[in-house]
Amino acid sequence: MSILSLNDIIRRSELKHILREHLRSEGLIEIDVPCLAKNACPDIAVSPIPVHVDQQTCFLQPSPEILLKRVLAQHPIDCYTMGPVFREDPAGPIHNPEFLMLEFYLIGRRYADLKEKTLAICKLLLGDRSIEIYSYQDIWAHITGVPYSPDFDYFARLLKNQRVDYREDWDCRTLEDLAFSMICQPHLGINVFTIIDGFPPAQAGLARIDRGIACRFELFIDGLELANGYDELIAPEQNKYRFEAWNLERQQQGLINWSLDMHFIDALRYLPECSGVAIGLERLLMLALKKQSLEQSMIFSWNTL
């Protein structure tokens, strides 16, 4: 395994340059936030990497979200951050424990604008494609031909039909995640940009819930999840409630449980209405370089380290 070719290194550099120019022309300013902090978002879906610094447990940040929102609470301005994030996931063709993320925020009720700008960035790097938008509920019927009905039997039947092994003692939510990953996702974003917009409240992350639907979208390209955007949840009490719910789930799964980030909870009182999106820049660069895996598009892949 060797280091990426000079040609590809130069292309990566150019693509990032193009991106920064574009974001600047859109009026977003770049804000750097630390990769290492004393706290991390307890989101059950991501696993921050704990490290010991100055005799306390700190975390390599799995996303710049918490720290950027604190900046926004003090300085409400359209902004982005482009830098490495860390997650304790095993390395593979489309996963690496460290990867580049582009996250940007728009101040005000501009969720629709957020989707437009996310698509514009993808077009800039990958060229034009047509766009299809489904709700999370509708995508199931679209892919499987069977209307979405979120119970154990529904997902079990889909998995059986596709000969995907699962265990009878798993709960409905686990089966749903497995079925989405194995059955729906491979068909999303094939020659198009597929946006799934509007998720069940259980998958809200830190998105606002409006009339029972989480204002959250995901963008898929070539079967890969490329972006995840929220109309951000502002209410401090609700944020706190979601953190506590995640922590409870962490406890049940025997994962690290951490104290609430009170700086963040305090800052929420001043956070303006905003929407934000995280774009998997490392995957986007991989697609822009027309490579099949992150190992072929990162300057150092996990196996070269």
């Binding site: 996963h95 092994d165 995640d177 989405f180 998958q203 992350g205 995901e218």
Partner: protein, 187 residues
């Protein structure tokens, strides 16, 4: 019994599934944007040799299987048992004919094989990748025909039948690839 986590799943790692020893062939990490991560694992059951795909929740643990590959020399046959000897300890081990499966077509006395043990008991025998065996029976060949590409069956000293080029004669020593049972060349 020791436990092993999905994070440690690598090709070749042996785990216990429904009390049967299995070897991991491939381990794919699958994760939706928000939700449970999984390991989709391709596994070979070392008893039945069947390959299956299993799903684990990432971070789950399973029992590891006490499976060892030991270099053993085949000594002689005794009824339904083939007697092997561990080349480092010189201990002898009888292996039932049914466990040898196709391996019995390729090995002769003195050949060194890999015997796979599960909890100390043999579960499979892997012959060397290439063996040299004498032709005991085949139709008369066409001398000098080395290029026409036709084939004919030939019976080898061990009883195995392989497809060989037309010029092969009784008494020729052939090099055979035991992984797919094909003729490679004259030795």
């Amino acid at each position: 019994m020791s436990q092993i986590s999905t994070n440690e799943f690598r090709p070749g790692v042996k785990i216990l599934l429904d009390n049967q020893p299995c070897s991991i062939i491939e381990n794919e990490f699958v994760k939706p944007g928000k939700g449970q991560a999984f390991n989709r694992v391709k596994i070979r059951n070392l008893i039945t040799d069947r390959v299956l795909e299993k799903t684990f929740k990432s971070g789950e643990t399973v029992d590891s299987a006490d499976v060892m590959d030991v270099n053993m020399q085949y000594l002689f046959q005794e009824g339904d048992f083939w007697i092997f000897m561990d080349v480092s300890s010189f201990e002898q081990m009888p292996v039932d004919k049914s466990i040898l499966a196709d391996a019995k077509f390729w090995i002769r006395e003195q050949d060194e094989c890999i015997v796979t043990l599960f909890n100390g008991q043999p579960i499979s025998v892997t012959p060397p990748n290439f063996v040299q065996l004498e032709v005991t029976e085949t139709d008369p060949g066409l001398r000098g025909d080395t290029s026409s590409g036709g084939t004919k069956p030939a019976t080898l000293a061990t009883g195995a039948v392989v497809k060989v080029p037309l010029f092969i004669q009784i008494g020729d020593i052939l090099k055979i690839d035991t992984r797919d049972g094909t003729y490679v060349s004259r030795a």
